[in-house]
Amino acid sequence: MGYICDFCGDQLSMVYCRSDAACLCLSCDRNVHSANALSRRHSRTLLCERCNSQPAFVRCAEERVSLCQNCDWIGHGASTSNSTHKRQTINCYSGCPSSSELSSMWSFFPQSPPAGESSCEQELGLMCITENIERTSWGAIENTINQNSAGVAEVNHDSNTNKGTGWGGTSSIPDLRSMPRVLDQPPGPTGASLPKCPGICEDDLYDDFNMDEVDLNLENYEELFGVTLNHSEELLENGGIDSLFGTKDMAAADSNCQGAVAAEPACSNAASADSMMSSKTDSILCFTARQAHSSVSFSGLTGESSAGDYQDCGASSMLLMGEPSWCPPCAESSFQSATRSNAVMRYKEKKKTRKFDKQVRYASRKATADVRKRVKGRFVKAGDAYDYDPLNHTRSC
């Protein structure tokens, strides 16, 4: 740190290497950082001209001096008159630029004397020959960075104002390898897109469930029951949904149902209406999903119940067949039997999937438990003495 180069101890230091944490003169900077590929990646920047120990952060156009953050704050932040000075951020560089390239990057950078340059240029030329592929690819990336205003321009605010052509694009991206990654990021996320949102999938499921029955049974519905669709909606609204959800309005609902049903000649209508009310859980599900299309699902439900459910609801429908004759005096009992038959059916279904075997819920916990120290089958703390009689209750807990 200081005015003299850390490497040769000879010349004045001009640039600061962040990775090496060293102030170097220009020739040593070129020597050191052209030695191998890793050191070439180091990002270097100009030294602050006030303190000569920290990397310069901005260049003040009025005072024509490069300052680090501390000196910038001291010089410009404190006094209000100076705070209006126009300041331009200074970029970093990496690789092995020649003096002319540095001058093109930083317009204020003085050209180094030709004597010192010639040997370094030779070295530079050697480096170029050996690492030609890397440099040209890097140069190509540079050109594309300048063209791609969206990707990198946001990273460095002022680089576009610099006169630098080749080197002006790098400000905070010193790493050679990170540059292709930056370019790849903008086109990347646009390629991915969600194929289907879950809501649509859900609807598909219910569509398959209902639509077949609708097509099959719409005509049958008209034939068998002879009610208009409006009437069936009223039926559903009053008696269907509420009864399925088990509300206490069964008296009114039932009377509505019965009124509608009484208009029908067929007794099977009542049976199917009641069996609809006491239908299985899966038909309840599709019913709730399709409340907007209630008439459609009603026909679906009745078709389903009439076609397939007679064997399963054998017991319940037998009970229901006998009910319409004496239903008006006891309106709640049919509701209670509906919930009871629901519960019975649910119990029977769950009974089929019962397992009384030993079941491990978390494999990782089993692994931990297997490793734990045990005394007489009980977990113990490692290291304690355990020779007590389990029948003796002198130990706590």
Partner: protein, 75 residues
């Protein structure tokens, strides 16, 4: 599966240089850091073998660095 050396990309990396931001094998580490005195000042840390690192008991994934020898679940 161990990290591969960034310089030669053929040997397994055994050190990581923070200044260079690169994982290096032994030969490349000597080559890079013995060539000049500035590079010789770089702080390097050794990389552990993935199989030698104790893993977390719960997720079996991340390296575990805390031990609870007296732990009794429940009670």
């Amino acid at each position: 599966m161990r990290t591969i050396c960034d310089a030669c990309e053929s040997a397994a990396a055994i050190v990581f240089c923070a200044a260079d931001e690169a994982a290096l094998c032994g030969a490349c580490d000597e080559k890079v850091h013995l060539c000049n005195k500035l590079a010789g000042r770089h702080v390097r840390v050794g990389l552990a073998n993935p199989s030698d690192v104790p893993r977390c008991d719960i997720c079996e994934n991340a390296p575990g660095n805390m031990q609870f020898p007296g732990y009794k679940p429940g009670k």
